[in-house]
């Protein structure tokens, strides 16, 4: 990433005063100090709640309310995790697995389906192409929550509410993914390569899977990640579709526990440690794939 190298360059040149690339104009020490101060205040704002969550998760029930909330007391993180996974026959692990299933399978299939459609719209001329694309683009503006209620009505007519499918199937559609794939395929898959594959005798579908997907990889990772987050975070659809606790995703399960805190005070500690465990998979995924999604965002959709 160009910015990273730039920063690194700045750091090494620090001793030699300002680098020449500023055309001789020095940013005053005051502006730099103010800028860094803003960054540090912002970092505190964004990270303190997460820090609190980590600290609170590591405390015993007694220490939770009686010790400094922003620093560790007796380290009981693993005891808390054990209590969480044992509670009600490990229903929390079931929720985590459900979320992983809905978000993992859902996002993977949604990415594939959107990539095929976006690629076709970018690379083949056919009648009604722009109309189709505009309808899909309209779909980007339709919020998921607005669809939840009618989806519930339809699924209940089919007798399919309170099933895995009620949550999984609607999340296979990513209009934003089609949009991003089209832009990205148009920019990064040259027609010559497709023609060359044709001359080599590869079929259209095979060309897509062996050649185009590789060239579209940053866009595909971006679509996968944002769809993964959207499904993992989705709340309204599971809330109205699911009644059986064993099908809940982790967000819905923790929500239900949180509503029970006033009746069962002991559950509060489980909500805290459960919250921490439920965000770790997302943070790890984002960090592991950041190289891809950052370039996907920069090059693909948002120019």
């Amino acid at each position: 990433m160009s910015v990273t190298t730039e920063t690194r360059a700045l750091r090494t040149q620090e001793a030699a005063k300002r680098p020449a690339r500023d055309g001789g104009i020095r940013e005053s020490a005051i502006s730099r100090t103010i800028a860094m101060a803003v960054m540090i205040v912002a970092t505190l704002y964004f990270l303190t709640p997460l820090w609190w969550l980590v600290v609170a998760s590591s405390k015993t029930r007694e220490d939770f309310t009686t010790t400094n909330p922003l620093w560790f007391a007796d380290f009981a993180l693993f005891d808390n995790i054990a209590a969480l996974v044992q509670y009600r026959d490990g229903v929390f692990l079931q929720w985590l697995a459900n979320s992983a299933l809905y978000a993992g399978v859902g996002a993977a299939l949604a990415t594939l389906i959107a990539a095929m459609a976006g690629y076709a719209i970018a690379k083949y001329a056919f009648r009604g192409r722009e109309t189709l694309f505009n309808i899909i683009l309209g779909g980007v503006l339709v919020p998921a929550t607005a669809l939840a209620l009618p989806l519930f009505l339809l699924f209940s007519q089919a007798g399919a509410t309170n099933t895995i499918w009620a949550v999984l199937l609607p999340s296979l559609v990513s209009p934003f993914g089609v949009y991003l794939s089209r832009i990205y395929a148009a920019a990064s898959v040259p027609d010559e390569i497709i023609e060359a594959a044709r001359i080599d005798g590869a079929g259209e579908v095979r060309t897509f899977f062996t050649v185009a997907t590789r060239l579209m990889a940053p866009a595909l990772v971006t679509i996968f990640l944002f769809q993964f987050v959207a499904i993992w975070n989705n709340f309204f659809l599971p809330l109205i579709m699911l009644r059986d606790e064993g099908l809940f995703p982790v967000t819905l399960g923790l929500y239900v526990w949180n509503t029970q805190v006033s009746q069962i005070p002991d559950i509060r500690a489980l909500v805290v440690i459960g919250s921490l465990l439920s965000i770790i998979p997302l943070i790890v995924t984002f960090l592991a794939l950041q190289r891809f999604w950052q370039s996907g965002l920069a090059n693909g959709g948002l120019k």
Binding site: V3, T4, T7, D22, G23, E27, S31, A35, M36, V38, M39, T43, F46, L47, P49, L50, W52, A56, T65, P69, I113, M116, A117, A120, I121, Y124, A125, F126, L132, I136, G139, L141, P143, A146, L147, L149, P150, L151, L153, L154, V173, P175, V205, V229, W232, N233, F236, I240, T251, L254, Y255, N258, T259, I279, I283, L287, Q294, A298, N299, L302
Partner: protein, 298 residues
């Protein structure tokens, strides 16, 4: 031109099978889970329940715009719309302003360690709204909060304050995401543009104000529209805050109103509300798009 389209059309005809394989899965799913639900909501909103006599079985019959008249007379629904509009007018500019300032700072040579800051600001986006709301709910609660000095003086969960406490949760989650979109737009500005400005002696603030901000207006419009949609659709955060504050009622936001109306169950009225909310969302985001386009053209 005519030959060109003819050539292209024949190519498409040749690959009709492949085209079907590429487009059908999305087409079918999009129809089933986007278009049909929308049409079904409209259809459902035109129905009304009638009974034969007082104790007869309830039957759904076509009611025309009956439900829409009900929606327009439904005071809680409109006050919930008013509430989220007020929320949006205050929260969206603050959130996008913060995102813009942070993106500009990350992009400027004034800041060192920009990679760390970028990830730190973006981290809250990985926290689901429900979890973020639970977490902040704890932080606001006077007996649990690490900030007792503040929470003992000021009740974040009171009827007057809770809307803004929720606004803070939304801001916390989404500033980093919006910052990243604006920052990506800044990265795509060619460096040469700055050279001339530097030679003219422009400082970082001048460059940001005169060059960078005008060039990221499209990204700002995009983030603005998605923020407006998100605001009108507020649901998870207030739903969670019902556990923390009695001031958050079941008709606090339009979506909560729809949810509680549907669980009465008054499905047709809820469907009509959904249609009205979707139209309002569309009109509002379209207006913002048009207004900003005109401004940008000037």
């Amino acid at each position: 031109m005519a030959t060109d389209t003819a050539v292209k059309a024949s190519r498409a005809v040749r690959h009709r099978g492949a085209l079907a394989i590429f487009l059908l899965p999305f087409g079918v799913l999009f129809t089933l889970f986007y278009l049909v639900p929308i049409l079904y909501a409209v259809y459902q909103s035109l129905l009304t329940v009638e009974r034969e006599g007082t104790f007869g079985p309830a039957v759904q019959v076509f009611g025309g715009l009956t439900q829409y008249i009900q929606v327009f007379q439904n005071e809680p629904f409109w006050s919930s719309i008013g509430r989220v509009l007020l929320f949006g007018v205050v929260q969206v500019p603050i959130m996008l302003g913060l995102a813009l300032i942070l993106a500009l700072l990350l992009d400027s040579p004034l800041v060192r360690g920009s990679k760390f800051f970028r990830l730190a600001f973006f981290a809250p986006y990985a926290v689901p709204s429900v979890i973020a709301a639970i977490m902040w709910g704890f932080l606001y609660s006077p007996n649990l909060s690490p900030f007792t000095a503040v929470t003992s003086q000021f009740d974040f969960l009171s009827a007057e304050a809770v809307l803004w406490s929720i606004a803070n949760v939304v801001t916390w989650v989404y500033v980093g995401y919006n910052m990243l979109i604006i920052y990506s737009a800044l990265l795509s500005i060619p460096q040469e543009i700055y050279e001339a400005a530097r030679l003219d002696g422009a400082g970082q603030f001048r460059i940001a104000w005169a060059i960078k901000i005008p060039l990221v207006v499209p990204a700002l419009v995009l983030t603005g529209i998605f923020s407006i949609i998100g605001t009108l659709q507020l649901l998870a955060e207030p739903q969670v805050f019902q556990s923390f504050s009695a001031a958050v009622t079941s008709v606090f936001t339009p979506n909560l109103t729809i949810y509680s109306t549907a669980s009465v169950p008054n499905i047709s009225l809820a469907a009509a509300m959904s249609v009205v909310l979707a139209l309002a969302t569309f009109v509002l985001s379209f207006t913002v798009l048009k207004l900003t386009q005109r401004r940008a053209a000037l």
